[in-house]
Subunit: 223 residues, 2 copies
Amino acid sequence: MPAIKKTTYKDHVVEHVYQSLLDGRCHPGEQLKEGLIAAELGISRAPVREALKELTARGIVVYRPQVGCFLAQPSPQEIGDAYTARGLIEGYALMTTRHLFSSADLSRLHLLVEEMGQAAQRGDRKEVVEVGDTFHTMLVGKAINSQLAEYLERLRLKLHVLFCRYWPELYTPEEIAERHRRIVVSLQSGDARLIEETVRSHYSESGGKIAVLALTVRERHAA
Amino acid sequence: MPAIKKTTYKDHVVEHVYQSLLDGRCHPGEQLKEGLIAAELGISRAPVREALKELTARGIVVYRPQVGCFLAQPSPQEIGDAYTARGLIEGYALMTTRHLFSSADLSRLHLLVEEMGQAAQRGDRKEVVEVGDTFHTMLVGKAINSQLAEYLERLRLKLHVLFCRYWPELYTPEEIAERHRRIVVSLQSGDARLIEETVRSHYSESGGKIAVLALTVRERHAA
DNA sequence: AAATTGTCTATTGTCGACAATCGACAATAA
DNA sequence: TTATTGTCGATTGTCGACAATAGACAATTT
């Protein structure tokens, strides 16, 4: 891994658009006009096009030929599907790597769960998301299947924006911690089926809730 | 769905490169030079770049910043992983949609298996691949999860090129038919676990064999 | 001789301009 | 009124040219 990362304008644009979405400066469904973004950043349209291509590949934006790029506005159905997919794959990944976790790893995971709960109680949203990321990264980090790992990362990025938008309305601090604790406990049990089932329900539950929330938001928007 | 598909130069290039790979005019690891391809097709580099971006997203080519694009040369490990991933997802998809298959569907599937076996016996490789595609499309066509369906399609395209290259060396005509018949039989049983397991082993078996074959080819090439 | 440095070439990264296409609106006809 | 057609502006698709960079090879130094 190189110490310095080589960066191009394209990478800058990708980050710019993604952050705009996270920060609420852009909204799902909105059209991303190449010329406009290029002007904003003081560059030409070429790297902007490259960046939009990449974001399209990531599923963050959708692309209509001869019309343009739009920020993805996943339907409740699609949101649910994406969470289900993540549950399926992450469950499988964790199941297949369950015996690679040392007791030190498990302690670390329990610690992260506590931190998460405390951060949630403090109302420190950013910290909750950050610790949550660390937690899931640790869980999946041992995954041996490169293809599934890659797809999982794509799903993570795609769902991240949804999660950041909605999670504070979904769970109490206690629930946040408890939900993640269940995963660690299942992992400790070493029971293959229990692990898969726990992870799947972890995500299908979140997915269902967020889908409903997205639906109400969409209806509100339509009115 | 529009009756006529709107096509751009980019789409043409994507198809050109993909076919070149299937037809053996290009080989894994080879660098794809934008200028060269543009000259070959009599167009400018811009649409070629777009096409290479898309192929990169599909995993057909790998991209090194400031250096260029190369036809993917998946390691045996990666090949095995891709097949495992496909087995996991396709097994799940078939398992969740098992009750959507009518007896007419099942008859059709059995018929396809027979056609496949006969084509294999005639040595009609193209027909075997075509029937095989129809078969798998029918199996997964009822999939309800949009995200998994999308990823499955990507995996299919990615593995297609490997499969076309190696399958005649892997199985006898009898085996070809028998392997697929097992899937239909498991589907008829309606047993969720059996279906998942059958599909998973179907792919992990192929994956393992192709990975080994790719390894020997690679060694031969290195010598 | 081996390692380092400098130069050169091929290839990608970026640019601004032009052409092609889409969507919206107005004008027209039934 | 309603449906069809024509025009127009905005946006993407494509182009050729230039700048920047990586990799190869030669020159230089130790």
